[in-house]
Homo-oligomer: 108 residues x 2
């Protein structure tokens, strides 16, 4: 991907998937899978961008989408479903996944 | 604050302020001000929680609020306004601030 760390989303409205997580200590392919999912998401219809940060406390990845239908299709992507299964089973100790409609945006 | 790194928000709908930023190399009180703003936000009416992560690429802080009015009041808090001014002037090279309505939430 050629994008920077901040997403150049279009004018609202559009949708955000806010994924906040605590990792387990299990690596076992996590980094490669996380990168693969970022690349695969970027190829989906309706994808608008992603922002991600992780430190010792938590990780937050926010992906942006043109519609709820685009989010639903990504959720049901077969390769993504396998990543979700592995995430539940071994990589994440806890997470919150929130689907939100972006109504306003400001930039510096 | 006694909360963990993931916010225990109530059932949707509620609002999220997604603040994604790139820092300058200027420290000059940033860490103390960031902590002060987290503490001050937690005292505001309508505050529901916060999640934050920062790594070398970017920082993401998502705060959760009961209403747009609560977000507006926090934005206009005098001490917060001074922090915003300093953020524009010296701490942030770039940011995106998005106001979004959370419609669904899933947990592990």
């Amino acid at each position: 991907m050629t994008q920077g760390p901040l997403a150049d989303t279009p004018a609202p409205p559009y949708y955000a998937v806010i994924f906040s997580s605590l990792r387990t200590s299990v690596e076992d392919g996590y980094a490669a899978m996380a990168q693969r999912m970022l690349n695969l998401a970027a190829q989906q219809p309706g994808y608008l961008g992603v922002e991600s940060a992780r430190d010792d406390g938590a990780g937050i990845t926010v992906s942006y989408w043109s519609s709820l239908e685009a989010i639903r299709a990504w959720k049901e992507n077969a390769e993504h479903r396998e990543a979700q299964r592995l995430g539940h089973a071994q990589w994440y100790a806890a997470f919150r996944l929130r689907v939100a409609k972006v109504e306003r945006e400001y930039r510096l």
